[in-house]
Symmetry: C2
Subunit: 336 residues, 2 copies
DNA sequence: TTTTATTATACTCTATATGAGCATTATATA
DNA sequence: TATATAATGCTCATATAGAGTATAATAAAA
C-alpha cells in the first residue's frame, strides 16, 4: 500500500443575484515546491473551490463535513446539499506530481440564497460564467464560439493522425459544440469543458502540462505557444468540478423544483424565471413559463404585489412544497 | 488525524437474461471479531457486492480500478461503467464498530451482456428483485405491499411521538409507497429502501442494531422481536448501494439509450421491450413502445427476421448510435 | 391630464406527443 | 384448412409545448 490516498471534500456553492449566477471561491495557497521551482515555473491559478480534507472522527456523514467546511471557510449555512461526483484521476491535484499522496475529492453541489460571506477572508462570490463564457446563451450567441472555439475545433479535427481519429474528433466536437446545424444542448457542460481542455483552449491544460514537465512526469502534448485561452482558470481541477455542478444543476432544473432553494420565500414569477434562465443559460418564453409554473402547482399566489417592476405590478408567489407529491413523471416511455 | 479512512470501490454489475434482471454477488467473508462474539451474535449476511480497496499506485482512474475488480472477481469485461455515489456514513461497514478505520466506498454501476462468470469462485448472478420484491410491478401489484409494508407503515406513522413527527412520517410514506391514491414512482427506489430500513422491515436494520449493541456503540431503537423482513439481505450496506444503482438505471432509461448495452447487437423489439420492462419494473404498451423506438431513431431494421416467436416472425433491429446526436431534449421548460 | 413606455397577465391557435385500442399480417400447429 | 399467437400497422382523443396576440396596470414623459 505505497503512498495511500488522501480524501478531500470540495463544495460548489451557488447563489443567484438578480440575473447573475455566482459561485464561492477561496484563494488557493498552492506553490510548486522549491526543489522543482524554476524561473519559468507557471504561476498557479488562484481561484479555488472551498474544500478541506475529510476528518472521519469529527463527522458522521460526508454531508455534515461539507456543511462544516462551508461554515468555516465561507460563513455560510447551506440550504441544499447534494453529492456530485468523486474525482480521483491521477494528478488531479498537482501535489501528487511532487511526491504527495494520491488525492481524491468528493464534490458537492450546494445552493444558498444570496448571503454575505464570512469565515476565510479570501472567500468571495464570483460570476459563474466568468469560468464558462461559452455557456451563457441568454443574450447573443457567445462570441467566443465563432471567434475562437469552432475554428480551433476544426483545426484540431483536421490535425487528427488518421481517418478513424478524425471521425471520432468530428463526432465529439459536433456533439459538444454543434459545429453545424443547431441543437445546442445546455446540459453538456462537462463534455464541453473537457473537450476544450483536450484541445488546449483552457489555461489549466498548459499549467498541467508545464507542471508535469517540471516534475519529470510524462506530459500531455500541447502546442508550445499558448493560444488565447478561455474563461477564468481555477486551481487544480476546480473548473472540472464546477462544470459537473453546472451540468447537474441544469439537468435537475427540468424535473425537480430546486430553484426555490435560491429564491426568497416570496418572489415574482419574473424573478423565478430570471433565476432559471441564469442557470440554464437560455431565454424562456415568459407566458409559457408562467403557465407551466402555475399549472404544475409549484407556486401559489400570495395576494400581495411587487410594484417596483417598471410596469404593471407583479403578483408575489410562494413555493408550494406539496407540489412535489403531485409531481408528474418526466417524459416517459409510454405506459401500458 | 486519528484512524484515517479506508477507501474502497464497489460495483453493481447488471445484466438482463430474458425478462430477469440480474446482479453479480460474491460471498462476504466478514465475521464479528472473536472478542466481541457471543452465542447470539447475529449471523452476517453472505451476499456481497463485488468490491475491493482502491490501490492508487496501480490505477490512473477509479474506473480502471473498477474494471480490474470486475475482471478479477467475476471474470467480466464491463461494457458500460458509471460512477454512482460515494458512501461514507459512519458504521456503513461493521468493521468500524470493532476498531476498523472509517470506511468509504465509491459505488459504480456497470452493465454487461449476459456472460458466464469466472474469477472468484463465489461470484454468481442473482435475481435483482430478490433483493427488492416490492419493486417489480410487471405482473400483479407486489403482494408484500398490502400484506406487510403498508400496514407496517401505518403502524409506524401512528406510533410517532408527536403530531409534527406524525405528519413527517405520513408524508415520507406517502411519497415513497403511495399509502393512498395512485402514482407509484418507479424511480424512488433508494427512498423506499431507506424507509423500510428505518421502519425495521429489512434484516439489515436488525443486524446493524445488534452489532452496534455488541460493540457498545449507541444503537438504533428497533422492536426486539424481529418482524418478517423483506427481500434478501446483503452484507454491509450492499443493498443500499444496489438501490442507488436501480434508481439511477430507471432514471437514465428514460432519456439515454443505455438498454442497448445489455442487448446483443441484433435484437427484436420485443426483446428490447422486455429488457426495459425488466429494469423499470413496469409493463409497457407494445405498439406505442415500438412507435417511440422507431420515431426516436434509436433502432433501425436489419431486414432479417427472428422466427422463433410463436407467431408472426419479428424483424431484427440494431441500435443506431447516431441517434444520440439527434437526441430530443427531455420534457423541457418552454423555450423562448 | 393625457400619452407613452414598460411590464404583467390572459387567452388563442397549432403542431406534436402520448395513451389507448382496433385491425391486419405472418407464422406454427392442430 | 382452421386456429392460436405474436408482430406490425393504423386511428383517435387528449394533453402539452411552442408561438403569438390581446389586455391590464403601473410610472414617467409630454
Amino acid at each position: 500500500m505505497t503512498g495511500g490516498t488522501q480524501l478531500g471534500l470540495t463544495a460548489v456553492i451557488v447563489a443567484v443575484v438578480g440575473a447573475t449566477p455566482r459561485v464561492v471561491t477561496v484563494r488557493s495557497t498552492f506553490e510548486v515546491p522549491a526543489p522543482f521551482r524554476h524561473d519559468d515555473t507557471p504561476l498557479p491559478h488562484r481561484d479555488a473551490l472551498p474544500g478541506a480534507s475529510f476528518a472521519p472522527e469529527r463527522f458522521r456523514t460526508l454531508q455534515e463535513a461539507v456543511r462544516s467546511i462551508a461554515d468555516d471557510l465561507c460563513g455560510l449555512s447551506l440550504r441544499y446539499v447534494e453529492q456530485l461526483y468523486t474525482f480521483g484521476d491521477r494528478f488531479r491535484d498537482p501535489h501528487e506530481l511532487f511526491g504527495g499522496a494520491r488525492s481524491l475529492t468528493v464534490g458537492y453541489l450546494a445552493l444558498v440564497r444570496d448571503d454575505p460571506l464570512g469565515g476565510d477572508a479570501t472567500a468571495q462570490w464570483r460570476d459563474l460564467y466568468g469560468y464558462f463564457p461559452w455557456e451563457d446563451w441568454r443574450g447573443e450567441r457567445p462570441a467566443v464560439l465563432d471567434s475562437i472555439i469552432l475554428p480551433a475545433l476544426r483545426r484540431w479535427i483536421a490535425a487528427a493522425p488518421n481517418e478513424a481519429e478524425r471521425a471520432r474528433r468530428q463526432e465529439r466536437a459536433q456533439l459538444a459544440f454543434v459545429l453545424d446545424g443547431d441543437g445546442w444542448d445546455p446540459e453538456r457542460v462537462l463534455e464541453r469543458y473537457e473537450l476544450l481542455y483536450e484541445v488546449g483552449l483552457v489555461a489549466e491544460a498548459f499549467r498541467d502540462g508545464a507542471l508535469e514537465r517540471l516534475s519529470g512526469a510524462p506530459s500531455t502534448e500541447l502546442p508550445k505557444d499558448m493560444p488565447r485561452t478561455l474563461g477564468r482558470p481555477m486551481a487544480r481541477d476546480g473548473r472540472r468540478i464546477l462544470a459537473s455542478a453546472l451540468e447537474r444543476l441544469r439537468g435537475k432544473l427540468k424535473y425537480r423544483p430546486i430553484v426555490f432553494e435560491l429564491l426568497p420565500p416570496i418572489f415574482t414569477l419574473n424573478q423565478l424565471q430570471q433565476v432559471v434562465e441564469a442557470l440554464s443559460g437560455t431565454r424562456l418564453h415568459k407566458q409559457n413559463f408562467r403557465r407551466l409554473m402555475i399549472s404544475d402547482g409549484f407556486v401559489e399566489p400570495t395576494g400581495a404585489f411587487e410594484s417596483q417592476t417598471g410596469g404593471r405590478p407583479a403578483e408575489l408567489f410562494r413555493f408550494r412544497r406539496q407540489a412535489i407529491h403531485e409531481r408528474t413523471s418526466a417524459r416517459a416511455i409510454p405506459e401500458t
